[in-house]
């Protein structure tokens, strides 16, 4: 088991190196000279050269790269041009908001899509099978920002069920004491039911938006892999031995069918992390996505770079976790490694 984890960690390293190189190259591809930008339009040639020396952009590319990597190693992501704040600090304070949203979204997807897939597979051709197919095809075609806006219109404007779609908490409430940065967990730890419910109400629409977007791949994969497993010999044997249908489906079939579903989770996470940015914009969610979008509009590159790097690192880490989970669930993976 440990060798599996170790091997998989080794495989993640080239990806991380690639991510660092790409984010570095992207800054160097920026149009114009950042030194001239910092110096302002009235600067003399000499002033620009000085700033260039200070920024290190007069050095060869490889030296600049070395500096970039050593900055990264110290957790330094540069400063925002517009606010002058440290990007790393800003991302660290905003990350829990994005993480909470993405994780709840992921949980909702799994809760909705897996039973849909199982039901569709156990009753092929029934109405639930058709509903699953329609919902999953439509879900993947719906632009995530559009779904979000429709949900806002229906649940906020029409039905008045959900609070105003702005931020993580009603303006009249104060945030729970910071422990994990996840409002739901912090509020639960502080035994503050009012804040917990308010935070949940703010969270449910954006999380549902994410879930609808990511529903299709998981529901489809669950259905396909359940169909394959249900026609396998061991399921027939289990049925023939007189086991109850729920035992056959849950313990025998599903445990085997879950493996491809877990693999799909990797792709779904790529979707979710990207869609997160759009959802944060729609719901004015104070996460790292909206931070990056604000910086993008102001052509402030350091925050965008920090954001891309953080997201990629998260994605690599989550994929690693998925692969390790795969090894834990499927003993065959452990033996073959």
């Amino acid at each position: 088991m440990f060798s599996l984890i170790f091997n998989r960690l080794m495989l993640a390293i080239p990806s991380l190196i690639g991510v660092v190189i790409v984010t570095f190259l992207l800054t160097r591809a920026l149009p114009g000279d950042p030194a001239a930008y910092f110096a302002g339009p009235a600067a003399t040639e000499q002033a620009i050269a000085e700033i260039r020396a200070k920024l290190g952009t007069d050095k060869p590319l490889i030296v600049q790269f070395g500096r970039y990597v050593s900055d990264l190693a110290r957790g330094e992501l540069g400063n925002s041009l517009t606010t002058g704040q440290s990007v790393a600090k800003e991302i660290a304070t905003r990350l829990p908001a994005s993480a909470e949203l993405t994780l709840i979204g992921l949980m909702l997807v799994v809760i909705l899509a897996v039973p849909m897939g199982i039901l569709a597979a156990t009753r092929p051709g029934s109405w639930i099978d058709h509903v699953t197919r329609i919902v999953s095809t439509a879900g993947v075609s719906l632009p995530v920002f559009f779904t979000g806006l429709l949900l806002v219109y229906v649940f906020y404007y029409r039905l008045g069920l959900s609070p105003s779609p702005v931020g993580r908490l009603d303006v009249f409430l104060s945030a729970p004491p910071h422990i994990t940065g996840f409002y739901l967990i912090d509020a639960a730890l502080a035994r503050d039911a009012e804040v917990f419910v308010a935070a949940l109400k703010q969270l449910i629409l954006p999380a549902l938006t994410l879930a609808i977007f990511a529903l299709a791949p998981i529901a489809r994969m669950t259905r396909a892999s359940m169909l394959a497993v249900l026609s396998a010999d061991f399921v027939r044997t289990a049925r023939a031995s007189g086991l109850s249908s729920s035992k056959v489906i849950v313990t025998y079939a599903f445990r085997n069918a879950v493996l491809p579903v877990i693999t799909t989770l990797g792709m779904v996470l790529s979707f979710l992390l990207g869609a997160n940015v759009l959802v944060e914009k729609v719901f004015a969610w104070p996460g790292i996505g909206s931070f990056a979008v604000e910086a993008l509009i102001a052509s402030d590159y350091a925050p965008v770079q920090g954001f891309v790097l953080t997201m990629a690192a998260l994605y690599v880490a989550l994929n690693l976790a998925i692969d390790i989970a795969y090894g834990l669930i499927d003993p065959r993976v452990r033996i073959s490694s």
């Binding site: 690639g18 991510v19 790409v22 095809t137 075609s141 632009p143 429709l150 806002v152 992390l273 759009l278």
Partner: protein
């Protein structure tokens, strides 16, 4: 000729058997017509504002209502088709060239070419794709060309992988050996023997990724990258209407969003249908 006729028969059979694909095909024709004829048939100038008619709900005069500047949303949605479709087609065509060719080269030559191409593809796959697209557009500059380029780059791994595995299968095939023995060079074999054989598979890939390309580009313009207002484009129009959703003027964001959804839906269904025609084994 007989293979063409039988392919056509097969296509007609698939369309007849599969009303969903036929529906998608009909929708596709409509979208293409809107893209070609759109600007000359719409009832209003998509850019002309008229503040006395601002924020009107859909009516007989303005089928999709008017926006905060009194522009006719129906005209804007139709006119926007051309730009949205152009961005998607251009990016898909670009990645078809880049990804298809380097994938074929990787699969045919193997060795270091293969290593380099696959390393690039793996690095791209290490990013959440939309996030990488944002980073690329932010770095290269906020323009439509860069939206196209970014959308092509994030789709690169898909094309490169498909083309690589298809070329790899065919590398040792009899007709390739024959071509080699009759004195053809590698470049010639790749271009005249391998590429034509895997084009159908790549075309399916193109129509499957068209939907994603449209979504990606619209998402980028929704957050303010690429196309700029007042140019009619679906993503921007949804963004402009977003603020009015909470005050009940739903039509401003709804109709462009619906157009976007139908276009993506159409290409996704069409992609599935085309795959059934080209490669019936992969039917799910």
């Amino acid at each position: 000729m007989s293979t063409n006729a039988s392919a056509l028969r097969h296509a007609r059979y698939v369309l007849g058997e599969n009303p969903v694909t036929a529906f998608a095909f009909g929708l596709f024709v409509l979208i293409v017509l809107a893209a070609i004829l759109g600007p000359s048939v719409v009832p209003y100038d998509p850019l002309a504002s008229n503040t006395s008619r601002a924020l009107q709900a859909p009516s007989a005069q303005h089928w999709f209502g008017t926006d905060q500047l009194g522009r006719d949303i129906f005209s804007r949605v139709i006119v926007a088709t051309r730009l949205d479709l152009f961005i998607a087609i251009a990016s898909v065509a670009l990645v078809f060239m880049l990804g298809g060719l380097s994938g074929v080269a990787a699969g045919y030559f193997g060795g270091w070419v293969d290593k380099v191409v696959m390393r690039i593809a793996d690095t791209i796959m290490a990013f959440p794709l939309f996030v990488l697209a944002m980073g690329i557009v932010a770095a290269l500059g906020n323009s439509v060309q860069n939206i196209i380029l970014a959308t092509a780059i994030v789709n690169f791994p898909l094309y490169a992988r498909v083309a690589r595995s298809e070329a790899n299968i065919r590398r040792e095939a009899g007709y390739i050996e024959a071509a080699r023995l009759s004195g053809n060079g590698d470049a010639r074999i790749v271009l005249t023997q391998i590429l034509p054989n895997i084009i159908p598979i790549l075309v399916v890939q193109m129509s499957l990724t068209m939907g994603y390309a449209i979504l990606n580009a619209a998402g980028l313009s929704f957050i303010g990258l690429g196309v700029r207002p007042p140019t009619p484009e679906w993503g921007i129009m949804v963004a402009e209407g977003a603020a009015f959703m909470v005050s009940g003027e739903w039509w401003i964001a709804f109709f462009p969003g619906l157009a976007l959804m139908l276009a993506v839906f159409c290409f996704n269904l069409l992609g599935d249908g085309l795959r059934d025609i080209v490669d019936p084994r992969r039917r799910t």
